[in-house]
Amino acid sequence: MNPLVDPVGVVHYLVVGAVLFTAGIVCMAVKRNALGVLMGIELVLNGANVNFVAFGSPVLRADAGPLAIDGPVIALFVIVLAAAEAAVALAITLNFYNNHSTVDVDRADELKG
């Protein structure tokens, strides 16, 4: 299990993915800055991506099988969709800033624009 001596396995990547995912969740939860929340989302998606790549990596596991293609492809989709999501989220943030003169999400407590 020691990554310095043994070959790195899937579980090592999973741990990294878990840390990134958790950090992202916390970031989404505690940040009051809309951009901070957005960064949390990016971290979460990134953590998921690490897992996808790890499960599909023929380097990390001998039994990757068809996942060798599926994993990276899904990761690619996630990256592309994350970029799309960031674009929309930024547009929303911008609108929010225009309407409320702030990017503090705690102030976004009314439904009318």
Binding site: P58, A62, D63, A64, G65, P66, A68
Partner: protein, 419 residues
Amino acid sequence: MASFLINTLGLPAWLAWTITATVSAALILNVMAVGALVFIWAERKIAARIQDRLGPTRTGGKFGWLQSVADGIKLLAKEDLMPEGADGLLFRIAPYVSFCASFAAFIALPFAFDFVGQRLNVGVFYVVAVLGLEVFGVILAGYASASKWSLFGAMREAAQVVSYEVPLGMCVVVPVMLAGSMDLVTIAEKQAGWFTNWYLFHDPFTFVIFWVYFTCAVASVNRAPFDLAEAESELVAGFHTEYSGLRWSFFFMAEYGSMFLVSALASVLFLGGWNGPVPIASLLGLSEGTGDTAGYLVRLVGCLNLILKSTLGVVVMMWVRWTLPRLRIDQVMTTCLKYCTPIAAVMFAGAMLWSFFLPGGLVGIAGRRILSRPAGEIREGWLKGPGGRGRDVVSSRPITEAAMMPAPLHSDDGRRVSR
């Protein structure tokens, strides 16, 4: 080298690899740092010649060879100032971010067949991606300087570089498409032979797109007439207004490194990489594979070839810089979005159709497949590709690793394994 260290000296593998990697990194660093010194000197001399002056003449002999070194020493000795109100951490780290991005991109750049820091399967993509990160340091510098001029420079740079990545990517894709590989080594190998094999002369579309690429490359490395981020007559010095001493010089090393890099990329993608216009080596019966010394010499000549071509590109950039006025930000964006992008898109489509319908080139129709030899191979490779077999782990049939590759990659990978 690593195997030498492991087998002959008996070093532990990790140490051997560390030493090897350090040597490689140091070599690339040298290419960049010494290159920057030489280019700064060359820029002074070229600018001087263009402007009817002499340029540096005294430092270190007749031609002022040591002027850059003297400058470097001066910069080292200079006080490193940081404005009050600056974001200390980001201000300090920004030049190194720029420099690292420029440096990291060199890793995948092949100087000759085997003279490459790390041959990457996605070399082109990697280089373009990492080069795009250079803007990051600039934005950080602009923000952290707590100066409005710096901020203007950073914002301009962000808008410009992000926009120019689109046409740049489209231009880069064309040689990738023709070669059927994103591996820079493979792309350059495809253009071996006479200069008619260069992708520049592959078809009219690639000829046009080379110039689009060059324009976009100049813009993405912030050289005049696109040097808006540091436009000295408008923004004082733009993003590096507040920098001095060594940090400032790191920005410059990054700039000259990137200049060389995009020129080298242009050479690899369009100008045959390390292949000279005339295949002297193969005419003499030499190749990279024949014998240690001969192969090494061939590679060394190739390396010189590539450096020469890249330097030519850099010199052209300097020539342009000292001739043309600077564009305005809206004109820069117009150039990108209204001219470069559509032209690149059309040329991409054109090159695609050309290589589909005329895989042998115009001469190919006449029955002589001398020109554009690679295009046909790629098409065959693509057709053959799906028929190849997947990896061994799934299928019960024994499948060779090479079989899943298109044909062209197959051969060179095979060569690589055998060595």
